[in-house]
Symmetry: D3
Subunit: 312 residues, 6 copies
Amino acid sequence: MKGLCVFSGQAHPSLATAICDNLGIDLSPTKFDRFSNDCLYVQLLESCREQDVFIIQPIVPPAQENLMELLLMMDAARGASARRVTAVMPHYAYARSDKKDAPRISITGRLVADMLSTAGANRVLTLTLHSEQVHGFFSVPVDHLNAGKVLAAHFMTKDLSNAVVVSPDLGNAKEASRFARMLKLNVALGRKQRISDDKVIIDTVVGDVKGRDCIVMDDEIATGSSILELLDRLRELGARRFYLACTHGLLTKNAVRKLTGAEDVIELVTTDSVPLVEEKKTPKLVQLPIAPLFADAISRIHKGESVSSLFQ
Amino acid sequence: MKGLCVFSGQAHPSLATAICDNLGIDLSPTKFDRFSNDCLYVQLLESCREQDVFIIQPIVPPAQENLMELLLMMDAARGASARRVTAVMPHYAYARSDKKDAPRISITGRLVADMLSTAGANRVLTLTLHSEQVHGFFSVPVDHLNAGKVLAAHFMTKDLSNAVVVSPDLGNAKEASRFARMLKLNVALGRKQRISDDKVIIDTVVGDVKGRDCIVMDDEIATGSSILELLDRLRELGARRFYLACTHGLLTKNAVRKLTGAEDVIELVTTDSVPLVEEKKTPKLVQLPIAPLFADAISRIHKGESVSSLFQ
Amino acid sequence: MKGLCVFSGQAHPSLATAICDNLGIDLSPTKFDRFSNDCLYVQLLESCREQDVFIIQPIVPPAQENLMELLLMMDAARGASARRVTAVMPHYAYARSDKKDAPRISITGRLVADMLSTAGANRVLTLTLHSEQVHGFFSVPVDHLNAGKVLAAHFMTKDLSNAVVVSPDLGNAKEASRFARMLKLNVALGRKQRISDDKVIIDTVVGDVKGRDCIVMDDEIATGSSILELLDRLRELGARRFYLACTHGLLTKNAVRKLTGAEDVIELVTTDSVPLVEEKKTPKLVQLPIAPLFADAISRIHKGESVSSLFQ
Amino acid sequence: MKGLCVFSGQAHPSLATAICDNLGIDLSPTKFDRFSNDCLYVQLLESCREQDVFIIQPIVPPAQENLMELLLMMDAARGASARRVTAVMPHYAYARSDKKDAPRISITGRLVADMLSTAGANRVLTLTLHSEQVHGFFSVPVDHLNAGKVLAAHFMTKDLSNAVVVSPDLGNAKEASRFARMLKLNVALGRKQRISDDKVIIDTVVGDVKGRDCIVMDDEIATGSSILELLDRLRELGARRFYLACTHGLLTKNAVRKLTGAEDVIELVTTDSVPLVEEKKTPKLVQLPIAPLFADAISRIHKGESVSSLFQ
Amino acid sequence: MKGLCVFSGQAHPSLATAICDNLGIDLSPTKFDRFSNDCLYVQLLESCREQDVFIIQPIVPPAQENLMELLLMMDAARGASARRVTAVMPHYAYARSDKKDAPRISITGRLVADMLSTAGANRVLTLTLHSEQVHGFFSVPVDHLNAGKVLAAHFMTKDLSNAVVVSPDLGNAKEASRFARMLKLNVALGRKQRISDDKVIIDTVVGDVKGRDCIVMDDEIATGSSILELLDRLRELGARRFYLACTHGLLTKNAVRKLTGAEDVIELVTTDSVPLVEEKKTPKLVQLPIAPLFADAISRIHKGESVSSLFQ
Amino acid sequence: MKGLCVFSGQAHPSLATAICDNLGIDLSPTKFDRFSNDCLYVQLLESCREQDVFIIQPIVPPAQENLMELLLMMDAARGASARRVTAVMPHYAYARSDKKDAPRISITGRLVADMLSTAGANRVLTLTLHSEQVHGFFSVPVDHLNAGKVLAAHFMTKDLSNAVVVSPDLGNAKEASRFARMLKLNVALGRKQRISDDKVIIDTVVGDVKGRDCIVMDDEIATGSSILELLDRLRELGARRFYLACTHGLLTKNAVRKLTGAEDVIELVTTDSVPLVEEKKTPKLVQLPIAPLFADAISRIHKGESVSSLFQ
């Protein structure tokens, strides 16, 4: 594809390679280094003058390192006269900081959006933001992909006659409901309550789950502790079996083991927007490849074709 | 209060006067005119050089006229060397345009936030935004007041032993749940579904409402048609009586009459963030005054005192 | 014309259609709606990714609605990855607010220019601004068309042996003189004086009009009251007959009837930069089509050809 | 006056000193130098941390040197943590470049306004801009003083029973008319026509001047050649005697001698906004001091008092 | 000190405390947290409305974490209506990325300066930037302190009769020479040459060092490998003893032990701009306290007193 | 070359012509004028709509005139819808103002960089900035050419067996060392000391020069007084013969004569980045043409080819 140039930071090189494979091009090489005072150094190793540059970097742990690396790469591309620089963030972790629910905090989802512009991003391509409003934090055009179809396609192959979609959080209710509608299912909702500084419980489940197969659906699962808490509650209410699903499977620490340990948990389904070390992968973990969706979007953006068809 | 200067647009002068009464100052006068080509003309009639200027203007119908008037007033204040200009918007209607749920639309909540900055707003003071994330659309500091306490105080005087809070929309679930917790009540949730371009139904109510007194809570009620739809559903499910509550009572057309017509609707409670013509006021309509809250906030902002205590 | 995309707001769709006819393309469709809280909703119904987008919207009554609609359309086009967005304003009404002739007012011509940039305008295409300096209010490139040639061509077909061009306002003197020179005529000038807040008289006419056919020339005629006042003065000074001409015929209320009622008024000539309802059209009213000029300009801008030849 | 700090560039130090005298403070010293490569060097020699800094510099010949010097001084004040920086330009020469009357030229009045902001100007204080619209070129607040009252006060001491105000240019018609009204006189207007690239003639005078004393009024007189051309025309039309008046007396080359050489020219009246070398001063030249007006404005701006009273 | 508010990030709390002790105020508390997806969370625990806020955070390892934390704190302070936010960076590590000495790299010293502005920094207070030009990377006022006097005062107590100042790098020649002049000593200069990607040698020493006590002076010492390389070269040239000095003692890994291991190395002198774990402190390591200098600067900035005296 | 358009200011038209000759295109014509109030007027005489516009203008004496002319030309090109505007500055004189070495001065190298952006520069192409860090002053992409290879190629034809490169200033040490390495020579360094306000001496030369042929290398030579001072010092130290070399030969006043007057000065070598009047040219003066390097860079930038190869 003429004039297209894809670079990758160090956050998720295998995804970047998969995207390039789908595009039928080579990933452009980059040199990464670190000064002895811990400052990052990045050099793009291919001319990007007048190129349509895409830089693939999900903001995953180590989040600060990966974010900063992305900023340096964009600045380098701009300074090297790229025609256009698109920040491709399969996971935009700072989207969770999207409101001011305590005094004197930063709405970091907006701050980082501004920093991306400062560093030279002309566009953003991302996947399933924590809330849809975060789209409005960016001053540059955003193509906001949704993994819903990818996840739904997976579940449609199963017997859902007895299933219900459960959201662990009221804040995610609308999104869960939309997913339920794709599967023609009902929805139930957990209600979180903060007990103390580091303890959250789910005190209520609104909706009927008795005897049902629950597809527990969230946008991001990290330690999985809310999900575990929800499972306990659902079991108390007589739920039968569980499918766990999310777009962004951070699955930090021993989350996979904890979540899939119980027998009534059938599957933990996620996309590969976040890299996962081999040893975390277990038979119950299903990683759906997201590279085809990103490759399609990048190709359309580069060629100036409509992307909106990808969203419907 | 030295150095403080409060102006009002034409959207809601009685609220502005009430705020000034609470502050113990006079509202500064403004001249409004319209050129024969329909362009607006505004002249601030009091020197605002080096003053701390607050301009009170909810974005209510006619929304475009009122927004534009606010922009002109801020631009005039800036050009007249105001030390600081705060846009006081008791209702920020464009907050509803907070996401891109269809291709090629404007996230107008962000666009208008940017326009306010362009016109000279140094700060924003507002009340119960449609979603909390809209706070992050502004590049200037925002003091985001919440009418929850005002509404809750009203309901706490009633017998709530049999009550439940009902949100007409999953998107408002978290906010409704927070309100329910203030009243120590459970929550139920309606799920909207769009049938055709101009027809929305509520196809499901998640949670238990049978035999209950329902406090139907929304951030804004305009024509009230979703609420009416919800009431039908709740009646089918055996709900007993209804209190209708919202922060922003737009109550356009004959909404008040339609909403309070039925006997099982006890009250329609709202703040006076939006002006209401006399003829719409009926015995079942309760308007809670919001001026004390705004006066308190303006006083603290002007004196540099903490505003966060107002939010807790 | 490849890569070109023309949308129209609701201000003047027939002009937009005429421009597209001249360009030999179809007008791209748009969906307009209004929320129940009076906020506008606009959806562009054709992909504008990487397109050269022109949005046609004169700022005519209802001026605030039309301006806001234009801003939303531009924001939508930018967010939808248009390659370039041009605001086409055949009439830019706010150009009249071009100076600070009273304390604490807004120079709204500049404010709106900044708002257009905020909303995503990369360029502006407009016609006969109230003063030439308004061009300098914009931070983006402006192509400023002039209807002088169109109007002059109309008058050149007449017997002008006894004619003089009369400007109703000294502020328009230079422009009237330029028009007079195109017709090889002399110029006379009315001098306005403000008697009270809502009363303007023309106290003097500088220059010789006795026994002459007067071509009264202004940039914009709205209610026509200054023109009527001028005609009285000219009649007192022995002028013979009158042609009334302007670029922007707002002709609000019953202006057409009032202006063309007298027998000594031969014609009222204007372009169709402003829409006019059918019932206002009378035999003495001549509307010169401006679409060919705009189509020519858009075509040249899109193809990167010089536009300056259109101005000479 | 506490916290006030006035610096002067090298354009017009005697005016700066006069302003400081009127304010009762000392002018703060500055060191000026020039590198051997012709680059300017400026050092402010008094701490301006948290000060309200005014920098006095009319943009007079050598215009580029003086403009650049002003920019450096503002940048130095900003970098030295001034609380506020006001550019005081008794003459803003680039205001003449206020429109695009030929293709591919710069509207330099706007460009320089932007440059002033770039260099750190928080406000502008200026006198009689070439056109009122130039006010709108600035994105920072402008206090736009007018020398009309100063000039009118001078003429009111004379016998004006037979006088008329004459503008040499239609573009200045409104301003001349306003001046005439202050003196309760009629107005006449010259019409300039460009014959060739470097030859302008005044082909018509609109209005009656026969037997009259003419007060020829312009905003700026440089070489005076248009005025000389106008005098010839007025003499042909039977005018009696001439007073020449302007706000900004640039009076380059031998303009004073040429303009005041004829016996029927009684006086050449100007303010001292522009410095004039001693040898140009002749008995017929009257320079009205402008320092009191600027000192009054600076004092009010510094103290936060209304400046609008100075304009009426 | 009224209206002054000092916060500290987690990079160097003991320095922040020492600065506050010198100022005679308490450090304002902050809550630090980290979401399970590795995103940072910061809450300022004291009202900073209308306060003059200073946030102390050297950019030391972990550099990305510390930088990001600083950005969040500034954004929080701005959003909480601080009157002014000053980023206090005793060490600005990214200053080393100050030029483009390879294609397609970022001049990160400039990028981070822009990010600080984006996040809300109104001013910067820093110490001994890697090069003086980095001052010009910032668009906000910078107070650039220099530790030269502090270091020189230390050496002036010693017998320097036989000493010479040696810079390990030609790029630091001017700074070393300035330091030498403060001690009335001569200067010698090492010349670095890059042998391979990770190997730098010092191939030449320009200037006389035979039999001399060498004060090796650099702005920052991290691993110390260049210094070790220089010592070898100086020993070959007959130098006698060594004092090692730098402003920013990063002293990563086992740098202290390596540098002070040899007997001819008398002292390693640095300021405490960078935190150092206890176990790295050895008898030969001298840490000069920098808090008094910062406290003095903060006090002057807050009170609006001249800071320039601190630089001479 | 399609779509390419090269204009020249008045600073160095012969260089512009040479560059165009190398590119095989015609220089686009420009009209320059000056109003009687000394304001500049510039009109580009060729359509630059959608063109890739390069404007060639070194900032040489008269520096302020030339800088301002460049700004006007860029503003005109932007306003005339150029697709991209590149400021080509073969000499960027204000780069010398790159640090704040005294209180209350402007870092003018940064200020002018910002002014270039304000006026519409999308890119900058320049040659051998006074310090490499100045690159970071620009917010737009900069292609920073280096004349080192051009100068080195000249010296490589000579017998350098006995030569040493001498820098007159420690601040230039690194650059001189890099040049020395290209010629495989050693380096020596003069150390400047400021004696009084207008007297600089070179008090030390670090490194060995006895009996050597010295290639004295600086980035810019203006009056040449430091060089003369250095020659005296080198002669005292027994240096044999001198070649003087610099990128930017400003050679003001009688610098050429003074520098080449002595017999032991063999040559004064410079590029033609700065125009030189004929009468200054002497047999010992060698001007190396820089046009091929600029033409190559412009061609690559225009075609989107890598420029980095020009730097190695």
